[in-house]
């Protein structure tokens, strides 16, 4: 009953009209030939795969879940997942943005991200299998020895093997400094790993012949805390000389978790019992290597919630046009029917437009950031690369936390449009809400993202990275400040920009006295900055839409309407957030723990 149609028109609007991504790519030597036609063709093909192959498995995958055979330690994924993955590999999708040196197609990150939006709309649980694999590919690509890279990267790029990230242990999630898994050096240069990992997504499954685990562990002489953690590659089967899966390694799935959502993905407890591994990067520098993976993963989690927001919106919209219930308060709208379609009711529209605005704002924001990653990786000018890297560092925690909080809000509003039917599994809406909930937690909780943003990315360099973004906003405000048609957007944008500057300084001052002020302000602060980014992109999109609203293409009228809704109804959240951030830490910290 649910449906998904890839929003190609809006994706192309963002890529070509808003970001003019082909102009950007012309500056980047490896992508200079990637034009709009190539991009559109890939998206078109991607839409078919996601709509026709993946989406039909989303609901059934949720109902069926994964099953562990405790005797063999093998996990069976839901019916159809394996076959869909085979088609995915055969079509070459895993290699899309991988390095041609290892069999990749070398296409830009921004295109891969647009594709991932569609994958996640169609089936988040399934998409985590190749998604985590891509993260492992990136960490290995950045830090592996030439031998490891030669052996493993082609397998990960082609997708015939998949990868995982093994970080968390029962007693340590956020605080990786506490981890205990041990790695003992062996005579042959390999390591013997022993310990237990939990919450390993895609840790075991039946879709590929081998699984490449990237595992954090401690060397025998490692210092305590986060400076004593190293990263290891631990394959499920140790490849033989021909690169075929050989001896079964001593890393086993001991259990899979029952959880709220993403039932189609196996969340594994992994036991390492003298498993053979190889060091990636330098000893005790494992977190550095892992952060390559982590940053990509944080953007990836943002794309998950963008995907869910889009598909939940689409379904709620169809329902709202179809469902007849009550009459419009301002007069009958469908006199030939027993009642009006519920889309006539203002509050139903509020719920729909909330999801729509969060999808469209998130798309602009995340595609823009992915484009910056391409710039960071491939621009010939080092200064440009460095500035791009700084902006990516600034924006990544915002994408992760803001888009996933928005996804939670949007999927819940979309469920609400269905009334009681939204709560019933067969309609598919409640799954989106359950799936969306994990995105606020994994790859660093949203609180951790907000501390990363405020503490590390903003205050640590006295707001330098934020100022660069602020200048972009300022330039836009100055360019369009006198355009009367733009006043409704430029005014609030300029105002919020000033408020963010002031708020940042204020928190910075308070933090000198008491670091808890950072922790107290961080979560509302991140959402304020998220709204600044959204307001900036909605203003830019509104400008394009205003210029083209009489083109006869109703897309621009729709875009303009969404932008106006965003400014009228969602941006006012900043009035609350700024007050919350300014209220500081005292009401939080005054009570002894025993009095809470």
């Amino acid at each position: 009953m649910p449906q998904y149609i890839a929003p190609l028109r809006d994706m192309q609007f963002v890529l070509h009209e808003l970001l003019q991504v082909d102009q950007e790519l012309k500056q980047l030597p490896p992508h200079a030939e990637v034009d709009a036609d190539i991009i559109n063709q890939v998206l078109e093909e991607g839409s078919k795969f996601t709509q026709d192959i993946l989406f039909p498995l989303n609901h059934s995958g949720d109902r069926e879940g994964c099953r562990l055979d405790v005797a063999t330690h093998e996990v069976k994924t839901p019916e159809g997942f394996r076959s869909a993955y085979r088609q995915y590999v055969e079509a070459g999708w895993p290699a899309l943005s991988c390095d041609p040196e290892y069999g990749g197609q070398g296409l830009p990150v921004v295109l891969n991200n647009a594709f991932y939006e569609m994958l996640n709309s169609a089936n988040q649980a399934w998409t985590m299998y190749p998604g985590l694999s891509h993260g492992a590919y990136e960490a290995l690509h950045a830090h592996g020895t030439p031998e490891l890279k030669a052996m493993y990267l082609p397998k990960l790029a082609s997708g015939v093997w998949t990868g995982t990230m093994c970080l968390t242990e029962a007693h340590c999630g956020t605080d990786l400094g506490l981890l205990r898994t041990k790695a003992e050096p062996q005579a042959d240069g390999s390591y013997s790993l022993t310990g237990g990992k939990i919450f390993i997504s895609a840790g075991e499954h039946d879709m590929v012949e081998n699984i490449v685990h990237l595992v954090l562990a401690r060397l025998p002489d490692a210092p305590a805390g986060t400076r004593g953690i190293s990263l290891f590659l631990v394959p499920k089967f140790i490849p033989d000389a021909n690169g075929k899966p050989g001896e079964r390694n001593r890393i086993y799935c001991g259990a899979i978790e029952e959880k709220m959502g993403i039932h189609g993905n196996a969340t594994c407890q992994m036991n390492l019992d003298g498993a053979t591994g190889w060091l990636i990067g330098e000893p005790n520098k494992g977190l550095n290597a892992m952060f390559v993976m982590m940053n990509a993963a944080r953007l990836g989690v943002g794309m998950q919630s963008l995907g869910l927001t889009e598909v939940a919106f689409q379904n709620a919209l169809v329902y709202a046009k179809d469902r007849l219930q009550m009459r419009s308060l301002s007069g009958v709208k469908a006199p030939d029917k027993a009642a009006d379609p519920i889309i006539v009711h203002p509050d139903v529209r509020r719920m729909l437009l909330t999801a729509k605005a969060y999808a469209e704002g998130g798309r602009a924001f995340s595609y823009y950031t992915a484009m910056l990653i391409d710039r960071e990786l491939n621009h010939p000018d080092e200064a440009v690369r460095r500035e791009a890297a700084d902006q990516v560092a600034l924006l990544t925690p915002i994408i992760k936390a803001f888009l996933t909080d928005n996804g939670w809000i949007a999927t819940s509003e979309a469920l609400q449009v269905y009334g009681g039917h939204g709560y019933i599994s067969e309609w598919g809406m409640e799954q989106y809400v359950r799936d969306a909930r994990i995105n606020m937690i994994y790859e660093g909780t949203n609180t951790i993202q907000s501390l990363d943003l405020l503490g590390r990315k903003v205050l640590m360099d006295n707001g330098a990275k934020l100022k660069v973004f602020g200048k972009q906003v300022q330039a836009f405000v100055e360019e369009h400040g006198l355009d009367e048609r733009m006043a409704e957007f430029v005014g609030p944008l300029a105002d919020l920009g000033e408020k963010v500057t002031k708020l940042t300084m204020e928190i910075g001052m308070k933090a000198f006295q008491n670091q808890d002020e950072v922790g107290a302000a961080a979560v509302p602060y991140l959402r304020v900055v998220g709204h600044l980014v959204f307001a900036y992109f909605f203003a830019r999109m509104a400008k394009i839409a205003l210029d083209k609203q009489d083109s006869g293409d109703s897309f621009y009228k729709s875009k303009l309407g969404t932008a106006r809704f965003y400014f009228a109804k969602l941006l006012p959240e900043t009035a609350m957030l700024i007050r919350q951030a300014r209220a500081g830490s005292s009401s939080l910290m005054a009570l002894d723990a025993d009095l809470i």
Copy 2:
């Protein structure tokens, strides 16, 4: 692993210190003898039943769910549910606030509601079986013929039979005017009912020997719409002359729904195939009779989310004190441990205190309203009864929508405190979130509640009922306006009171021009008024706590801290809500439906 300890101290604080409920009850002849000792004794007993019998079945009930035998149309509830219900009946709990004429104990509604908070904390899905039954009892008590009352009320009061509300059909939820179930008069004065109902909670189960369905249907000559709906009593088994379940009636459970949560409660499709029923109330006046049930149910749904908020808070608090992860930003707090307990982190405290404040505010508000119901039912002075009834009418939709939205927020924050473990079923937190989601939908969606509040309860009498509440606020502000210790509470309360007055007038003016302005403002408006009520009660509680903070009982310090948190961090939501309400309907209604 989860735990529940009934918050007797805070319940008693609200009942005795805040509301001084025994003084109130002295004014009400049937309850004049109900003193604090009786109340405390009942609560104490209730806490044992809910903690020891019901709570242990909550998680297992969720995992197991209900099963329908399609051959017999019988539903099997989760293991232990039946036995718990037997103990519940044996202890006399169903009769707590029922009419002594029909075997009830005649205790006040406010006490029954406090008991229901505990029931819902312990097990919402289970509590819906007796909860709906109590609603059916009330509708029948108010509108049934003497014969029907004599036959059925003692059975419902004792709990040996349970009741249901059969309203919804596949094509009509909110819009009952569309319903199609037919009732044909029979020669013996009974009716023959034919049709299909959906979403019937507790519609079929194995806990009692008979189920009494209250069914909305149309008489043959009934006018179209809501003025042509009548209410019927349709028992599963038709009682024989001795009041024993006799002939099986033709009302059958055809299917039960797979749904997001409340798995322990059977959500039934009920088919009536010439089922025998008896008219309750007058022909075509079924909605009036049903509204008796509905208003009680709306308060009941608020109590569900209050219960979930409390239990989710309690568990998150235990976890936050126990879980060691990272060091406090303001310096190590537990140097003897590998890391600090996460309760040292300001944002963890924000999440905990959000749930705590929503629980304590909701408790004060809902117990107060329940006390007003006692006043409405039993005060000797008719004018007092009428004013109480008006206040109950005003406050009921706010309790339903505000407390259930808050419950969704609070359970989700409590889950987040657990990080990844919050998403795993065995920890129990994700169930609270799933269970809480339905409360925003059933018994009238929260949008419907907000329209009821703004359109019907506020604007329709030019704000008269709201002004009565406002005068109470005003009196408190004037009484404590010069008390410096109270300034931090009285100032914002007075300010919000003025803003609500202004906002109400503004919307009223706009509504003259365009009724869609009501629909556009209603949802944020309801939350603004909800905060006004909370701010009023937190200010009153803060006053008591200030006076007793040096009593040596740390409860008052805790209460004061929670009130300060509420004013600092939650009340600022009104800054957003007022802007959203004032932004009006234009950004919602401008686009054609096809352009959304």
